[in-house]
């Protein structure tokens, strides 16, 4: 394969960075209040300079929209990176973080919290419950797969735990089916939303997500070697158990924290690595993880911003980001399956 020229790499990186910037600028101007880009920039500059701005602009642009945009970037990047790591770990382009059951575990804990009114105790209650659910799921995954090192077993255990956590949510919802407010809250949360998230949510999410993103990038070498097969990777010094543990912790951090903060946003981890490969290579294949992972972060961030902005532009029709990504992801999955079958 002919190596790519540095110029082309630079053009790709620049193009993606530009796309992200445009998406961010659009996201800041779309929504109630009809703020122009100039007003947005002036408000942000004044806020950053410690000056006083109109209370309405402060509330909408500074307290809500800016953290929302930043959170969308961070969550999109995280889910994209988690997807790249998961596909690399399982050496399967159809794998996604969802197969490990982490977001489903988080959802089950949150639905339990809704059922018992815990979400109303404090703003942090739902994110903490979701994080606990994600950690519990990760713990169960490790506990159940500790004796067997192979990836197929990890995958199947994840699928089983995913189903179990999903069933737990369903049972809880069935028990409290008559409480329409609970059903409404649970449904809204399970479709994901950036509504009402502020700097506090951003600050809670930043550290674990940034740590997860750094962790994801650090796995690029062993993931590249793993492409050659588990046995070969082992002979080249990749410790399967360590890689598996590291990848699961990274995916757990990225997906668990994202889910804890904004709810369940599915299929991003599946779509994004493919979009990143397609953007960077003509064949859409053969991209080293050292490039695939950061590219997935950028593409994920841009996709999430675009989805959230589109949803807000369609207001008052409520289009939850998770619902939209699932719709896109489902179609993409079918297309991918068909393509893989043809290639195979």
């Amino acid at each position: 394969m002919k190596p790519e020229s540095p110029l082309r790499r630079l053009a790709i990186a620049g193009g993606l960075a530009l796309a992200l910037l445009v998406a961010a600028a659009l996201a800041m101007t779309v929504g109630p209040g009809e703020f122009s880009l100039g007003e947005v920039l002036r408000t942000l500059a004044t806020e950053l300079g410690g000056g006083e701005v109109d209370r309405r602009a402060h509330g909408i642009l500074w307290e809500l929209r800016l953290p929302r945009v930043l959170l969308a970037v961070l969550v999109g990047a995280s889910l994209g990176a988690a997807g790249a790591v998961t596909q690399g770990l399982f050496r399967n382009p159809l794998a996604s973080p969802g197969v490990l059951g982490i977001s489903t575990g988080a959802a089950a804990a949150v639905v339990a919290g809704f059922s018992f009114g815990l979400d109303e105790r404090a703003l942090w209650a739902t994110p903490v419950l979701a994080a606990l659910g994600a950690v519990a799921m990760l713990g169960a995954l490790f506990g159940l797969t500790a004796r067997r090192q192979d990836l197929a077993y990890l995958l199947l255990t994840g699928v089983a735990l995913n189903a179990l956590a999903g069933a737990l949510s369903t049972v809880l919802l069935a028990i409290f089916l008559d409480r329409y407010d609970l059903a409404q809250k649970a449904m809204a949360w399970m479709m994901g939303s950036f509504d009402g998230r502020g700097f506090r949510h951003l600050s809670w999410a930043s550290l674990p997500l940034l740590a997860g993103l750094a962790g994801a990038w650090s796995l690029h070498r062993p993931l590249d070697v793993l492409v050659l097969g588990e046995e070969t990777a082992a002979t080249l010094g990749v410790e399967r158990g360590r890689l598996r543990l590291g990848a699961a912790v990274v995916v757990g951090l990225l997906v668990g924290t994202s889910t804890a903060i904004v709810g369940v946003i599915g299929f991003v981890g599946l779509i994004v690595p493919h979009l990143a490969r397609a953007a960077a290579t003509r064949a859409g294949r053969g991209l080293a993880h050292a490039r695939l992972i950061p590219l997935s972060m950028v593409v994920g961030a841009a996709l999430m911003l675009a989805v959230d902005t589109l949803g807000r532009a369609m207001s008052p029709t409520f289009l939850a980001p998770g619902a939209l990504t699932s719709l896109l992801g489902g179609l993409f999955f079918l297309w991918l399956l068909r393509r893989e079958t043809e290639v195979g």
Partner: protein, 301 residues
């Protein structure tokens, strides 16, 4: 709109008309019917119709005793069965009439269709719907007089609330209000809209129904008063939590203490609880108006 039906067919407009006229195809006289309820509003209205009707109620909705939704929680005798989602429970008690809502499960309704006479209530959007539902149930259970008394009391209470609205100066608009919780706003043609109107407010919403509205939109409307549900918390905790809510805490209503926290079940009530809601909305408005008037008097001219 109300529909009533018995037999194999579904509820049709003609049957709805027959219900409106207080007639039905059943051989049991309306005043002797054994009645079951599958909707909280019917639990409340059957209770309001008095002891004679109470004795003929053989089943209640599953939420009859849930104080978050029912204004008659724990008032009905324990011996009266609370009917779950299994239609067999209803068929086992063999009532002459069952009252359901248009939003009740289609499967449930299909399962009992033709086996028991069904009264379908369809309209839960404010005072007029309450009056219509009251009249319909009164006719269906042969308690027209009692229903008339309940309605008179209801109308008198509405009139009393409306008479207590703070007076407005010429050209002065009513203060704006928004009821917002879990990302949903109570729009026009809702129970909240009627209660707010009776209390002396103007709903900020411009569209009908319950609308998904995010925090940014609410901030752009900047209602002068904000109404929230207390949920599972104490109301003062619910109000205090707004100080932590990004963006929302910057609303003038929140900063200046013009937040009205309403306990369940009044915010969601489609029965007489709507008037309790109106009174709870009006109390702080009147207090604020009186305070304003005192301040005006005290200020130098």
């Amino acid at each position: 709109m109300v529909a009533i039906g018995c037999g194999g067919g579904s509820n049709s407009p003609s049957k709805a008309e027959s219900a409106g006229g207080g007639k039905s195809s059943t051989t049991v006289a309306a005043s002797e019917r054994r009645v079951a309820s599958r909707v909280v509003l019917a639990d409340e209205l059957l209770w309001a119709l008095g002891p004679e009707v109470h004795g003929r109620v053989v089943g209640l909705s599953p939420m009859a005793d849930d104080a978050r939704y029912s204004a008659v929680a724990e008032q009905w005798p324990e011996a009266t069965p609370r009917l779950g989602r299994n239609p067999e429970e209803l068929l086992a008690i063999a009532p002459d009439l069952v009252i359901v809502a248009s939003f009740s499960d289609a499967e449930y309704r299909a399962a009992i269709d033709g086996k028991v006479e069904v009264l379908v209530l369809d309209g839960f959007d404010g005072f007029d719907d309450f009056r219509a539902n009251l009249q319909t149930i009164g006719e269906a259970v042969g308690a027209v007089e009692a229903a008339g008394e309940v309605r008179e009391a209801f109308d008198a209470r509405v009139a009393k609330i409306e008479a207590r609205r703070p007076s407005l100066a010429e050209g002065e608009a009513r203060p704006t209000i928004a009821s917002w919780q879990s990302g949903y706003l109570a729009g026009l043609d809702t129970t909240f809209d009627d209660a707010a109107e009776a209390a002396g407010f103007r709903n900020v919403a411009t569209k009908a129904g319950h609308l998904r509205v995010d925090a940014e939109q609410l901030l752009s409307w900047a209602p002068e008063w904000l109404v929230i549900g207390c949920g599972e918390r104490a109301c003062d905790e619910a109000v205090a939590a707004l100080d932590e809510a990004p963006g929302i805490r910057t609303l003038e209503a929140v900063r200046e203490g013009r937040v009205i926290a309403i306990e369940a079940p009044y915010l969601g009530s489609v029965g007489e609880g709507m008037l309790e809601l109106a009174e709870r909305l009006q109390a702080p408005l009147r207090a604020s108006a009186q305070q304003g008037a005192k301040a005006d008097e005290a200020s130098p001219r």
